[in-house]
Point group: C2
Chain length 233, copies 2
């Protein structure tokens, strides 16, 4: 029997690197998908390339999509500043952060679906966690389930039940520390990854939301985030 | 009360031009969205621009997305030929045609969702018809309903019921002739539109699936398709 194929959404950050390692460990032939979506920094795409190679992805594709035409996010709109904080305790959990990109997971999953259909694959992996962002709408199990149902009505194979699309979310109930622990078991080299929203000279800033959440995860394991001491280029 | 905003997916073809006219007629301020998705011909984007201007869209945006990285469709892959037929009766209704682009409606709707969220709009219009392609999976009402449900779980406004996304499909039960009749009532100038998969010198070929279906619609109304006698550039 041929090895099963899976499309893995790979940002180059800590979560998606862990997910790629999990998919490989489950025996999938992996097709890693990243996006050039108008983000301010391309350092994360370099990280995605390193991670895909290090973890043995069969192929790595970077799809060009331009979300800047819609504006509205600090990650794609240079006129909106990325917020920085002194401590992870200062992060607000009530409001949608300005770093939110509208419908991003929905768009990313749609491209994964397109590639899966072309590859004749029925498995997609995404590194969302319902815990880190306190119920962020498009990171919750209900959303993923609804996406799967929609996707299975979008293709003839799905409608006929011949090939049901499955969206795998192995991190959905994991804290950042749990994720790091799992990745370390699978020999993920987190020095290769990049999660920072606002790098300075290609180094992680240490004070944006993403850096703070990640650093807390390493701290909980008694470790220091290797991205803080490693150049990301 | 401010005029309601709607995002309208606009390919520049007959169906989406009619949908834009319907949305305007229903009183929406319209934001027309087209895609540069690696299609072989840009003549359809020129048509979209003409149609958006003629029908009074407030804004027209062309989003760059590159579906060529996945391959697999005659519309985006130069190595796959677009099929031509002598008659509309020769069109197969059993198989997914080679002009199918994987997950295209899912991707297009995801971008519409992103723009709607940025505009604070809750209405999206798409010109799918369940009749023309005999139950093409992602043109059916069940698919559209599942997409709406997913989208309403993807945003906080949707989850809280403050702003439910509505996907409008005014053509879903219309034949091509019905659609043309409705568009003519709303003064759509179909000479501005472009639906051909394989234009020759910027003119509609008359023999691809899209041309044949469209020509039959005009013939049923005792008319000749104006696109056949008009340069599309």
């Amino acid at each position: 029997m041929a090895q099963r194929k899976a499309v893995v959404l790979l940002s180059g950050g800590l979560d998606s690197a862990t997910v790629l390692a999990i998919a490989r460990n489950e025996g999938y032939e992996t097709f890693a998908l990243s996006f050039r979506y108008g983000q301010r920094h391309t350092v994360e795409l370099q990280a995605a390339e390193r991670v895909a190679a290090a973890l043995g992805a069969t192929k790595h594709v970077v799809a060009d999509i331009d979300l800047r035409v819609f504006g509205g996010s600090a990650l794609t709109d240079a006129s909106i500043a990325v917020p920085h904080h002194d401590s992870v305790d200062d992060l607000s959990t009530d409001d949608i952060p300005v770093t939110y990109v509208p419908a991003r997971n929905t768009i990313f999953l749609s491209f994964a679906l397109a590639w899966a259909e072309t590859l004749d694959a029925s498995d997609v992996f995404i590194g969302v966690s319902a815990l880190d962002y306190s119920g962020y709408p498009d990171c919750r199990p209900e959303y993923i389930k609804a996406y799967e149902e929609m996707a299975n009505l979008a293709t003839r194979a799905g409608v006929e039940g011949r090939q049901r699309l499955k969206i795998h979310t192995p991190l959905i109930q994991l804290t950042k520390a749990d994720t790091i622990r799992r990745g370390l078991e699978l020999n993920v080299d987190y020095a290769l990854t990049h999660s920072c929203y606002d790098p300075v000279d290609d180094r992680a800033c240490g004070t944006c939301d993403s850096c703070l959440l990640r650093n807390r995860g390493f701290a909980e394991l008694g470790m220091t985030d290797p991205a803080l001491t490693t150049s990301q280029s």
